[in-house]
Amino acid sequence: MESVAFIVLSILTVTSAAVVALPFVRNMVVCALALAVNLVSVAGLFFLLSSQFIGFLQVIVYAGAIMVVILFVLMLLSVDDEQHMGSSGFFQRYLGPLLAAGFVAIVGSTLVVSSQATAFPALPDSYGTVGALGRELFTRFFYPFEAISLLLVVAMIGAVLLAKRRL
């Protein structure tokens, strides 16, 4: 059951990521919707790894908020199609895919060599729940948490400043 879900989710993830990344689909709105599919299927993988809270967060923040911002800017600027596809640089065009294939091959061969076909170990009941994460977040990770909220405020002000025509 779980492995069937994993296979379906990984096929969805890889195909939608390929639609977003590889320069074959010109229509930007299609790319943005493929990114939404990708984010939701990665959230499904988080559920498979029993991290429920992060999975919900992924759906709400990524597939909700960030996708809405990206689609809003796409519609606002009405850049439906990319002007010219594919990079003009020699390195980017030929060496980049080659190095990418090499990276995947190296990681894959390492995983195959070191694989002991282990299953995941058993977990305590509280793993991945809001309670367990919140306790960590407000004790050990309290200062990083406050720093990240400060960063969100700074980013919000910066976005307004950048996008505003005249101050």
Binding site: S3, T13, V14, A17, V20, A21, L22, P23, M28, C31, N38, L39, V42, L45, F46, L49, S51, F53, I54, Q58, V61, Y62, I66, V69, I70, V73, L74, V79, E82, Q83, H84, G86, S87, Q92, R93, G96, P97, V104, V107, G108, L111, S114, A117, T118, A119, F120, P124, G128, L133, E136, F141, I148, L151, L152, A155, G158, A159, L162, A163, R165
Partner: protein
């Protein structure tokens, strides 16, 4: 076939690599931002996989922070894209050579 960490790590490597390829091959500023989101997702997936493998909550907390950072990055990046579009009427990054001699 039990689910082990290797399959998830392989998937996260593929996801990250596709994001890098998107940054290299795509020429629209918004597509490059979306490819950066793909890379962040690949990193998140490996964080969650290791958190699951070792039963620790830290990996999930880092992913929480990364998602927050990604939201800030998307807001700022798209604001920059809007400012550029106002200047150039285009989001093509090959035409943005203002700082290049």
């Amino acid at each position: 076939m039990p689910l082990g960490p290797e399959k998830f790590l392989m998937l996260s490597a593929v996801l990250f690599t596709l994001g890098v390829l998107g940054v290299l091959l795509r020429r629209g500023a918004i597509s490059i931002l979306m490819s950066i989101e793909l890379m962040l997702n690949g990193a998140n997936l490996s964080f969650i996989t290791f958190a699951r493998q070792y039963g620790q909550a830290e990996g999930q907390i880092y992913v929480f922070f990364i998602i927050t950072l990604a939201a800030a990055e998307a807001a700022l990046g798209l604001a920059i894209v809007i400012a550029l579009f106002r200047l150039r009427e285009s989001t093509d990054v090959d035409q943005l050579s203002l700082f290049k001699w």
